[in-house]
Amino acid sequence: MKPEWKEWAQEAKAEFPKANSALLPLLHRIQRAEGWLAPETLSDVAELLNLPVQYVESVASFYSLYFKQPVGKKVVHVCVGLSCMLAGSDELMHRLEEKLGVSQGQTTPDGAYTLLEAECLAACDLAPVAQVNLRYKGPVPPEKADELLKEEVSS
């Protein structure tokens, strides 16, 4: 457990004191710092919020944006929703897989990128759209796959 987590837990509980409302915000904050939520992290969170570990695991596993495995420095979500599909998202994904040498759902061996499918990102006006560390990038036509990978992202 990192020393600052205690403070973060207090802050989350102060803002959301009722029920277990502090749980999701705390998981977000820790994941943002750590990149992912290791099993030990989940038990630390359980301890900090005085919840059963199984409960925290069960909640964390419900939501697709909590990573239960290590991810790359840049997490690239490619939207494969219908509007993005019409604009070439499958081809974009295909090219990214080729360039990174991994399939969607995987992380590059150097730990630089994780490539993931996303459902409609509510940005179909930017189709085909992607998010890098949850920052919107779009439109990203397949020909611009390279540029997407090179883009700087704020955390």
Partner: protein, 430 residues
Amino acid sequence: MSQTFYLLRNREVPQIGHMDVYREHGGYDALKKSLAEFEPEQLVDLVKRSGLRGRGGAGFPTGVKWGFLPKDGRPRYLVVNSDEAEPGTFKDRELIENNPHQLIEGMIISSYAIGAGQAYVYCRGEFLKGSEELARAVKEAYAAGFLGENILGSGFSLDIFVYRGAGAYICGEESALLESLEGRRGNPRLKPPFPAVAGLYGMPTIVNNVETITNVPAIVTHGAEWYTSMGTEKSPGLKIMSVSGKVNRPGNYEIPLATPLRTLIEEYAGGMQEGRSIKCVIPGGSSVPLLMPDKLDTPLDYESVLQAGSMLGSGGCIVLDDTVCIVRAAARLVKFYREESCGKCTPCREGTYWMTDVLDRIEAGAGNEADLDMLLDIADNMNGKCFCPLGDASLGFMVSAIKHFRDEFEAHVREHRCPLGAKVYDTVNY
């Protein structure tokens, strides 16, 4: 033509998301007017008279919903639904990223009207920027005295909290949203009781969509008659439509309700791209049946779209052009519901899985004669038998696609391939 009527009227104003710029454009005047000139019940009555209907999908009259709150002295909550994840819909994203104060002003007025002392915005997990913008704007609103204790000396106090989900479409369903807001898995609750009676933390709660609440300051400023002067008697006012697909100008367009679908596509969105024609249109987000081109003159109001065989829903208008394979489109949409099914009930969890499998195999040329009827049979076994509306929502497009394009499904089976060559993206064949 990027015509904007009201909620989007300031979309081009630089820094409209900041307090000083928002106020230079009349921001928070509606709040001052509400607190100075209206008793809470008068505001509920105003919203009732405006005929405003929920913009989250179901179109339930907002003032009527507000009137359902029991008068028993328990604390009440307002929860704004910014989970926007219905494929094809992207209006709430623009509203919160671009003009967060407009929503916050609406939340303060609405909370005053319904007597809530705390209000929450639930943003989908992917709305990192949107939630940051909201959090920043909420801070500004506290500093300006529009939030906190005794707002503008009115005696009314309110706190607003910004909460972010973590990737789950089902959390847009209001009871699943409340579960998630209470720090649990986003499984829907059994209804009744409805949130107005037992909602967040068991207390009376109003859940409204972002766009719904954003309409409230406009109605306070211009009056119920102004609102009912647009649209139809049953569907008055303004609606933001999100248009995507192979149109020249995909984007959000604010229309008076009952504007024809054709006008939306041809004038607002600039018509189809060179060389494309319309195959069919999904008018209200992925959960609604498709409309064929002969329905393009349908006025976009709740009743007319229903009569035409679909629903206005969330206003996510996806235009499919003549190069799109209908099987592929159906497979993609049903896969969405498979991914997003919360798994609580069997018909939805298993049905969406099966349908995706069967659709994929038809698209791949490996389907057989019996597959089409199997799809309809699965749909029949799900329809009305799922715990929440997500299961049924997975059927609308697919069933209508089989009805209108049965030939195209059968051709896939007969020719053992996609007759359109899945030529979805122009530059590549793969």
